[in-house]
Amino acid sequence: MLLQARRSFRSLLPLMGLLLCLAGAAGATTEVHEEAAAEDAHALPAIMPLTVVKSDSTADHSKFKELKHAFDSGPEVTKACLSCHTEAGKHVMATKHWTWEFKNPKTGQTLGKKHLVNTFCTNARGNEGMCAQCHVGYGWKDESFDFSKEENIDCLVCHDRTGTYYKTPNSAGNKACAVMFEGKKAIDWQHVAQNVGLPGRENCGACHFYGGGGDGVKHGDLDSSLRLPKKALDVHMDAEGLNFACTECHKSDKHDIAGSRYDMQAKDTAGTGKPGEQRHAASCESCHGNGPHDMDLTGLKLNDHVAKVACQTCHIPSFARGGVATKTSWDWRTAGKTKNGEGYKEHGYIQGNGEDRAVYKSIKGSFQWGENLTPHYAWFNGVMDYTTIDSKFDPAKGPVEVNRLVGEPGAADARIWPFKRMQTVQPYDKGNNTLVYMHLWGEDDNSYWGNYDFGRAIRTGMEKNNLPYSGEYGFVETYSYWPITHMVAPKHDAVRCAECHSKDGRLEGIGGVYLPGRDSGNLLDVLGISLVMLTFLGVLGHAFIRVCCNKAKRGHA
């Protein structure tokens, strides 16, 4: 009820002149609700206030007879959804949200959460009981999950508009971890089913804000501060301004959502497309075109940058700006310490919004956090070359790039992009020089989150997937790169010209381009300044001799 009151209050905002007294009453309930939200800050995000999603729907789901009865489970709701949306199941099943798999046509690599090793909890594979909370399905906890059953699709995680739907791990896990998810109010399936709609930021955010194991941990430009951001944090999602839902840019076609990190469009030359066309693209250019700045003297020069510099490079001056920190480094080597035989965590980083973040957890190791971070810049053509579970590397050759950015400096298909660079020290197979799958989550004795034994967790993780394991593990430093593309600042906060066009500026060390203001001080300037100095000295000498001779002459006279 409270939530509904709040929603209707928000939808009335443009008509504030009307019903002032009612608005006052609604305002009172809002305050109560916000206090509750603050108390529940550590609980699942769905408790927080909802965003308002624009909709031109011709249907009110609460009037559908298919939804006017009790449901006992998610799959039952899904069956009801599919009885009208007959093709939606097939569509969803073809997407990465369902398959967790992506074959990159450019590199031939098989990517996706089903396969990749990352630099956070390292692998979802084999840990689906926990990780598949963020799968758009019901109950993926091991190999037995049936990917062909349409009722296994979770429609609600994206389409719930009550804010009361939530997901928990698909298996119990070790008791040390399971306590996190206790004490939740049961889901009122009928209520949720009758209140479906287009996804709001909190729907996408329920997973994408929390990647890597917590709020803002993974991306740096995606965290819970984007639920109701101010304009200074994000011009597009500004809750009191444009208030874009994610899908405003991430257009979908048959449930396939544009803008995947696995196959990025680093340089969109198609721009806004044909008149009236709605392109299946999440690029800035698909709305702003390829010459987005004003056609004045400065604007024309800025438009010239479009060829070599991604929009994000200037328009996202820093990331993790919303008061939520992002993890910048993670050291697995220190994991496994216990106090009285129990795992523990140490606090030590207070982030901008006042919340305390752990700097050590027995189950994960030590972390560093950062906010208002300046991105790492690199040439990028949209392709990432992944170090997958079967890639061999030489650990002596410095940090392993888990997703090496492809793009030649100055190449026509590449642009300079901003990234968050994550630095991790994580386990690897010392004998085979490969990354490893760890068995972290489980009810058995072999799971790391329970026994704190890397050797057994790795052996189990590898054996479950029939992968070779030498039996000896070590730790290797890794880098991963996360394209920064959200938290677009208002234009007056964009990166100033001189922050790149200067020595030791943001783009120091970026090759493949002549950067006025940075690239001086070479032979040309040495010769030029010498010429000017010699001319000046010559003139001074000439004047000096003239003065001396004049004096001498006057002396004679």
């Binding site: 400065t298 060829a307 010209c497 690239d519 300037d525 010429l531």
Partner: protein
């Protein structure tokens, strides 16, 4: 031959000279700021000012070129060997001994031979080097894909020419201090009038025709 005070720098020429002076100084300051040699102006303003001043200067040069060729004044800049060595010798030697300048301004030849040679080189070498590279530099994005490696040479010539122009400015200003006085040198470019050695025929013609003001 009689010395007369004659209008040698017509109004357009004076406007041209001083506008050009202001624009070149602006371009030098903003250009070296863009290059990163100094930080007196922030990069963004420097780029805008540089572009705007360059466009103005090119328009001015279009007018000046038109003026030079329609009035026939371009002939003043034709280099002549006659008297060149004497002037060079004067600046290298005679000036220290208090000798008189070997050149007398003539009505059809208002610059001394060394001066005419220097101005001509400025007009046919340095200025073209600046604008022939400056325009492609400004329009880099138009041709970048056809000739990707050409930006560097364009930059080198543009910046090199800028240093040479700065050296010219230093010498040009210094030479104003030679002769009678700095003011005496600058004044003709302000009022237009200068002392010129006229033949009786020239004097009579100018007096009679009044095509050029004479005091």
């Amino acid at each position: 031959m009689t010395m007369r005070t004659v209008m040698v720098y017509k109004r357009f020429e004076r406007i041209w000279h001083w506008c050009q002076m202001a624009l070149i100084m602006t371009l030098l300051v903003s250009g070296f700021a863009v290059r990163g040699i100094h930080h007196l102006v922030d990069f963004r303003s420097a780029v805008s000012v540089h572009t705007l001043a360059a466009l103005c200067l090119m328009v001015l040069w279009l007018f000046a070129t038109f003026w030079l060729f329609t009035t026939g004044d371009w002939r003043h800049y034709l280099p002549k060997r006659e008297g060149l060595l004497q002037v060079a010798r004067y600046y290298a030697w005679g000036i220290f001994r208090g000798e008189e300048h070997p050149y007398h301004k003539l009505f059809w030849r208002k610059h001394n031979p060394l001066q005419a040679l220097a101005y001509m080189l400025l007009k046919v070498v340095l200025f073209p080097a600046i604008w022939i590279t400056g325009i492609p530099y400004l329009l880099y994005n138009v041709w970048r894909e056809q000739a990707p490696g050409w930006l560097e040479p364009v930059v080198w010539i543009h910046v090199g020419a800028a240093y040479a122009i700065l050296a010219f400015v230093i010498v040009h200003v210094y030479l104003l201090t030679t002769g009678h006085s700095f003011v005496a040198h600058v004044k003709p470019m302000v009022t237009g009038y200068d002392e010129v050695d006229l033949t009786p025929a020239e004097e009579a013609y100018l007096q009679e025709s009044r095509i050029v003001p004479m005091k």
